[in-house]
């Protein structure tokens, strides 16, 4: 099947969604997705950030679709023409959706562990306005510990339902879900109950924002000061393929290996995630490639001072300490 996205044609299998077709092309034309997760069946369609315009339905029925559609849940038709970043309407709608998502989001990025690898942060940076038009109190919740390793901070949640799908599909039993309705709805275990399961830690990885955080990593470090390294071990529960996040000599966090869309390649078990935090536990494969656009790679892999600094001895001297620290990292 041939589908054209922003003027770029691509051949895809029947049944592919517009979003996945766009991911096959890659680059800037891939719609952002906050709730869709390719490894989770039934996810998507909720956040509305991936809205696109279908300007031609298919070869057979060339009528455009009347409304913007969620690209993550709309399957392609042969000859379909889709506009994403080339349509002002889509860009405008996406801006609106981002504004809505940020309405009740606390924007506490400076103290949030997710900062630096947060999808909402990226999205807000790309599409958000500098100032909010919302002049009311944001909704707030108490932090809850769901299990001894996971903390839920509902205030930051954007209700993507990914963790609910994860618990349904990856773990044996789901102990949490959505309570209430509308903007009072919250992820909760109802009567506070621990989410205790060998694979429960994956809900941290799938969370696009900082609502679910790893308690063994909370406030330990900013992600851009840590070095991701791929490693594996023989695990009887999962594939054992992880990314270790080093701070100096210490492994301070273990996560699944995330691809460019922030989706883990394979889900990992809680033993790997929370209990194996020594280099000796792992077989190191090498540094994890992180997109050069990410703030995580901005600090350490390559350090290039501004040209003017390099050529000016006075500035060189003034920044000496900084250079030493950066090259040491």
């Amino acid at each position: 099947m041939k589908v054209t996205i922003d003027g770029i044609p691509v051949e895809v299998e029947p049944g592919t969604t517009i979003l996945n077709a766009a991911r096959q092309i890659g680059g800037d034309i891939v719609p952002p997705a906050m709730c869709y997760y390719s490894k989770l069946e039934g996810s998507g369609g909720k956040c509305r950030t991936c809205l696109v315009k279908v300007s031609k339905g298919s070869e057979k029925d060339p009528r455009p679709m009347p409304k913007l559609v969620a690209s993550c849940r709309t399957t392609v038709m042969d000859g379909m023409e889709v506009q994403n970043i080339t349509s002002p309407e889509v860009v405008e709608a996406r801006k609106g959706v981002v504004e809505m998502l940020l309405l009740n989001h606390p924007l506490d990025c400076p103290v949030c562990d997710q900062a630096g690898e947060c999808h909402l942060q990226d999205l807000g940076f790309e599409h958000g306005a500098a100032k909010t038009r919302y002049e009311f109190d944001r909704r707030t919740f108490e932090k809850i510990d769901i299990g001894d390793k996971i903390q839920l901070h509902m205030t930051r949640c954007i209700l993507c339902y990914r963790c609910v799908f994860t618990a349904d599909q990856i773990t044996n039993t789901r102990l949490h879900g959505i309570l209430n309705r509308g903007d009072h709805s919250e992820i909760s275990t109802y009567i506070t109950k621990a989410v205790d399961n060998d694979f429960s830690g994956n809900i941290i990885d799938v969370c696009p924002v900082g609502a679910l955080t790893d308690k063994t990593f909370r406030f330990k470090n900013r992600v851009w000061f840590t070095k991701p390294v791929d490693a594996h071990r023989d695990c009887d529960k999962c594939c054992g393929k992880v990314t270790l996040w080093y701070k100096g000599e210490d492994v301070i966090r273990v996560t699944g290996r995330k691809d460019v869309y922030g989706e883990v390649e394979e889900f990992i078990c809680n033993t790997c995630r929370f209990d194996k935090k020594k280099t000796a536990d792992w077989v190191i494969e090498g540094p994890r490639k992180i997109s050069h656009k990410s703030v995580i790679s901005s600090n350490h892999y390559e350090f290039t001072p501004l040209p003017v600094v390099k050529t000016n001895p006075v500035l060189m001297e003034a920044n000496k300490e900084q250079f030493e620290r950066d090259t040491r990292l």
Binding site: G45, K46, R48, V97, M100, L103, R181
Partner: protein, 453 residues
């Protein structure tokens, strides 16, 4: 006086019991359909009748039925949507309370036409008396052999169940209703697949409004062609209108579609005019989710033609100067009504009822509600009106289900038509909390339309 098809015997004492209903010609449609017609013939009659869904969207019922997938060996379901919770609409409750057997009869005929052997009536949780009435009626019909195995010796089996909902407005959306009926959280599903392909328990399902199903009874009794003679244009048949607000005679009326709005409002046969000798200020013509119109625009279209109670005429002028038939919740406001307060009230309702699944509706409805609350209480700003219009545009069309649109339209239309009243609330904040803006020019005759070119 229009013909009554649904409410003909509404005043007969005891019409809610099987015996009286039967003696007035009830269940004739079941006998006719099951004994003399094939299911496809019933569908054909409904198609010919031009009956349009009475729940709000006005989608032709016959066409909806013909879309139903019919794979071999897979059960099909008919679900009656009795989750009527739109502010201003109470026609289904009226029908279920006073003449429940009409709905049961319609369900039997419709289920027969669709080949469904199990059908559900999903009733809103707050309507507990109606749930009991329907269950009693079902028991009566079953005792007389109109439900259960081998109905009237035709070999057709049907079990009919009443399912109380949890009382959520969103469960009136057909896919949310199906989720709720399956025992899950009532979140609308993402379409496609449509219920006609994969509905209840993943099976082909038709979801129809109470009134649509009841209307099948006269269609089968008299034939689709006869039914299509009533009404006007593509709006055929009769429609129940629940008239509320500041009227002399509020209540549920059965009208022929095509009745002029003015006649409906002012004639003694229907609403009898505005109560207490007041003047009309505005009308919400089809339940809270349709655009509100000022008096002059509801009585006349922008082309100065009288506006009729029909799907087309009410929608004349699009969203700029028109409104929608919706579910028939006709709310009239007199000169003492405050449009800002009313808009806030609606926005509060949609904020409360948004399911919270998709972000524009979840966050946007709450935002609009808060801004309107501020306006109503005299703390608004001049920029708030543009903000509201902008927010409503960001919600409209970008959501999974039509609740987002339903929340956006009343706000956008109120600001479009009553902007001066909103501005007065800003400039005279303190005064706005003690008195209303009044009628202003909303009931003045329409200015002559300047035709372009």
């Amino acid at each position: 006086m229009g013909r009554k098809l649904l409410l003909e015997h509404i005043n007969v004492p005891g019409i809610n019991t099987f015996d009286v209903y039967r003696s007035k010609g009830g269940y004739a449609a079941v006998e006719k359909a099951l004994k003399t017609m094939s299911p496809d013939e019933v569908v054909e009659e409904v198609k010919k009748s031009g009956l349009r869904g009475r729940g709000g969207a006005g989608f032709p019922t016959g066409m909806k039925w013909s879309f139903l997938a019919k794979p071999e060996g897979v059960p099909r379901y008919l679900v009656c949507n009795a989750d009527e919770s739109e502010p201003g609409t109470f026609k289904d409750r009226y029908l279920m309370t006073y003449i429940p057997h009409l709905l049961i009869e319609g369900m039997i005929v419709s289920s027969f036409a669709l080949g469904a052997n199990t059908s559900y009536i999903y009733v809103r949780g707050e309507m507990m008396p109606q749930i009991r009435i329907l269950e009693k009626a079902i028991a009566e019909a079953k005792a007389k052999g109109f439900l259960g195995k081998n109905i009237l010796g035709s070999g057709y089996d049907l079990e009919l169940y009443v399912q109380p909902g949890g009382g959520a407005y969103i469960c009136g959306e057909e896919t949310a209703l199906l989720e709720s009926l399956e025992g899950k959280r009532g979140n609308p599903r993402i379409k496609p697949p449509f219920p006609a392909i994969a509905g209840l328990y993943g099976r082909p399902t038709v979801v129809n409004n109470v009134e649509s199903i009841a209307a099948v009874v006269p269609i089968v009794n008299e034939g689709g062609d006869e039914y299509a003679k009533l009404g006007i244009g593509r709006s055929t048949g009769t429609k129940l209108i629940s008239a509320g607000g500041n009227l002399k005679k509020p209540g549920v009326y059965e009208i022929d579609l095509g009745l002029p709005v003015e006649e409906f409002l002012y004639s003694d046969e229907y609403c009898g005019g505005i109560a207490n000798g007041k003047r009309l200020k505005a009308v919400v013509a089809g339940g809270s989710s349709v655009p509100i119109l000022p008096a002059n625009l509801i009585l006349k279209t922008i082309n100065n033609e009288p506006r009729l109670m029909s799907y087309e005429s009410l929608a004349d002028g699009g969203f700029i100067t028109g409104t929608m038939m919706g579910s028939g919740g006709f709310i009239a406001y007199d000169e003492d009504a405050c449009i800002v307060r009313n808009t806030w009230n609606f926005a509060r309702f949609y904020h409360h009822e948004s399911c919270g699944q998709c972000s524009p509706c979840r966050e946007g409805t709450g935002w609009m509600e808060k801004v309107l609350h501020r306006l109503e209480h005299g703390h608004g700003k001049m920029s708030d009106m543009d903000l509201l219009v902008d927010v409503s545009k960001k919600i409209e069309g970008n959501t999974i289900c039509p609740l987002g649109d339903a929340a956006a339209w009343p706000v956008a239309s109120a600001i479009r038509h009553f902007r001066d009243e909103f501005e007065w609330h800003v400039t005279n904040g303190a005064e706005a909390t003690t008195r209303n803006y009044g009628l202003a020019h909303y009931a003045d005759p329409l200015p002559k339309l300047e035709t372009a070119g």
